[in-house]
Symmetry: C2
Subunit: 406 residues, 2 copies
């Protein structure tokens, strides 16, 4: 597997674009499209929030169909809590894009991100669709990544190439965050993180769903910016088969290679999300190891990743490892504190449940000065482990979120 | 029931005090004591955090005994994650106080609050105990409330009188917060919130435990400042019988009157905690009604109370009710969004899952300018309801918690 510079248009046969439809008050680009030149199989994973946005409801229905060819996305408005008119607007987005592309309406998937509880300016969107479609190009992957941004400070894209049965498969992706980020997506058969992955792999819809399931569990679903689960989180993947590999129909060696590459890509995108969390100055990686079960390791890592107190301490570069103890203990997982070790970067802070004799506070403080902070918890009770990602909690986060809707 | 000015020394036979032992760097009072002139029955509820501080472990053991007479409390150090030496220090606190008071060591309960992972300066504490005991007075309830403070900006005390069987029972209480506040205490038979309640009621230990259970469930356990559950949360109640009422031995009319008064007092203390949350500028009361079960109502109210995004919006007085929708939906409770109504203060924002036709954003914004903000969610699916309390999330919260341990 090799990393290449690229994004959603890196795989063969994918075009993209982004335009200004006038949804965002800022006047920035806000309507984006990915298009596969040939029909593709697709899979999606969506928020498990009980209040699901209209585009989530519509995309879930469309994914029951066999082939898909495009994803239309708007930023600046979540189209959530808009009742039936919200559903009608999401359908209108899909229908108008389908007409302009000359494909079936059910071949369209839809996503939205932005404020909740405002009607989508659907007339503006309909007006912008012809320009959006006519500008489709394999050169516009980065424009797509830029257009889907809301409070993101930078576009997030990534691409890899992997060999399977002699053919080279390319996987590309783009995603956006970066507030209301605590996804727990299920493939549905169910973030407002949005992630869009494209690939030219030849793969069955079933295997694509299985691969997406595996890929999100340890990546997007282990990211937290603020612990607030969105109504709009969605992760889509489209596979159009143009790589010419022997079609992946079962969980053999090719499936493994493809899924590992997909997981790698999803991990990189997930880390970009956490690193660009609203107001973030640091990426925080939390690893829990020595757990009895994978579920235990994940539950503890995820609980630590949502500790406001720890996130403030990291913002202040304050080696207050006691907050890791408290968060781990609040996870609901049974473990023995008297066996637990905690490291801030390379510095052992807790050893068997009490402060480490060798704890060097100034060295620990130094390790918090990096742009990437590592926290390790070793339960020394088993062999399972998990990683979660978050960012620090800064005053800027409060500024961003106390002035958002106005 | 009537409200009186007072605190832990309002009931007959209770004395208290607080002194400077030198635990806090600020040099403020940090060692406190409550003492009942006669043996009392006691009950305690403690954090369900898997990592429990040493004083929690010791107090849980002591509560297995029949009678108690004093509670010694230090602020400035949590005595948590200190291994066996932490346990030894908690025992030494209890033993030295017991000796100075001339009571049995198991008649002492212990509580600590402050930073995690630092050894307790036990020599300083032992040195301060004689002065602490000699200054015990029924006039020093407020000094007790002041001494237990950490990041609290003001002491929190409350007292009520209630008639039972012709006698007048007094209940007094004091508590402190105000970071790492997301208690989920269980009587053990299991907040760093600390709450101390005294009463001169004559009541059996069993009935006192039952009353405490009832009282904390809808009060302290429904408070969140930052969603971080502490290792030290403790709520104690001591009842010394000096009111001379007919002893409460079963769940009859007198039990009901006593427990209702206790619940009222706990509610007021809980609201004081939320209102004084670290960096708080507002008290937020969230009421969920129309739920199918009490558990559903509580789970939704509690989830909303931990939404960083909503708390930032309230800090900014921004009527961004969509964040209430997202938080409710993230609670894990099944409900029908198309029936849900949401009110900001008296202003209906969401009506049957979509923006209310009558929504007046400027009126809603006005309702957020008060020191107390009310948010109401009506699921219109049942008859059960619950209330939770939190505060806004301000830049000051980040300041306080990015500079704590240094």
């Amino acid at each position: 597997m090799i990393i290449i510079k690229g994004g959603v248009t890196s795989p063969k046969g994918f075009l993209a674009n982004g335009v200004k439809a006038g949804i965002k008050y800022s006047g920035r680009k806000d309507l984006a499209l990915i298009y596969s030149e040939v029909p593709a199989v697709a899979a999606g994973a969506f928020t498990t929030n009980r209040c699901q946005a209209s585009p989530v409801r519509i995309s879930r229905t469309h994914l029951k169909y066999r082939y898909h060819q495009a994803i239309i996305v708007n930023s600046g408005n979540a189209n959530c809590a808009n009742g039936r008119s919200g559903d009608r607007d999401a359908i209108a987005m899909a229908k108008n894009a389908a007409m302009a592309l000359g494909v079936n309406y059910t071949a369209l998937l839809v996503a939205s991100t932005g404020i909740i509880g405002r009607n989508l300016p659907i007339e503006k969107i309909i007006k912008a669709i012809p320009g959006l479609v006519s500008g489709l190009s394999e050169k516009n992957g980065s424009i797509f990544a830029e257009t889907i941004m809301t409070t993101d400070t930078r576009p997030k894209e990534f691409a890899v190439k992997v060999k399977a049965s002699g053919s080279v498969i390319t996987i590309g992706g783009a995603c956006k965050g970066v507030g209301m980020i605590y996804p727990d997506m299920k493939t549905e058969r169910h973030a407002t993180m949005l992630a869009f992955i494209t690939t030219d792999a030849a793969i069955s819809k079933n295997m694509l769903e299985a691969a997406l399931d595996e890929a999100i569990a340890d990546t997007f679903n282990m990211v937290s910016v603020d612990g607030d689960m969105s109504t709009n989180d969605s992760c889509f993947i489209m596979a159009n088969g143009l790589a010419g590999n022997k079609k992946i129909l079962s969980k053999g060696a090719d499936y493994r290679k493809f899924t590992d590459a997909l997981k790698f890509l999803a991990t990189e995108l997930a880390k970009m999300l956490a690193a660009d969390g609203e107001g973030a100055t640091k990426l925080v990686e939390i690893e829990v190891k020595g757990a009895r079960t994978a579920h235990d390791a994940k539950a503890i890592a995820r609980k630590i990743s949502t500790s406001n107190l720890l996130k403030c301490a990291i913002f202040g570069e304050d080696p207050n490892w006691g907050r890791v103890v408290a968060a781990a203990g609040a996870s609901g997982v049974r473990f023995d504190i008297d066996r637990m070790d905690i490291y801030l970067g390379p510095v052992k802070a807790l050893s068997n449940g009490a402060i480490s004799g060798s704890f060097d506070k100034e060295r620990a403080r130094k390790s918090l000065k990096d742009k990437k902070v590592n926290i390790t918890v070793d339960l020394k009770s088993g062999r399972l482990k998990a990683k979660a990602w978050t960012c620090d909690l800064s005053k800027e986060y409060v500024s961003i979120n106390s002035e958002y809707s106005t």
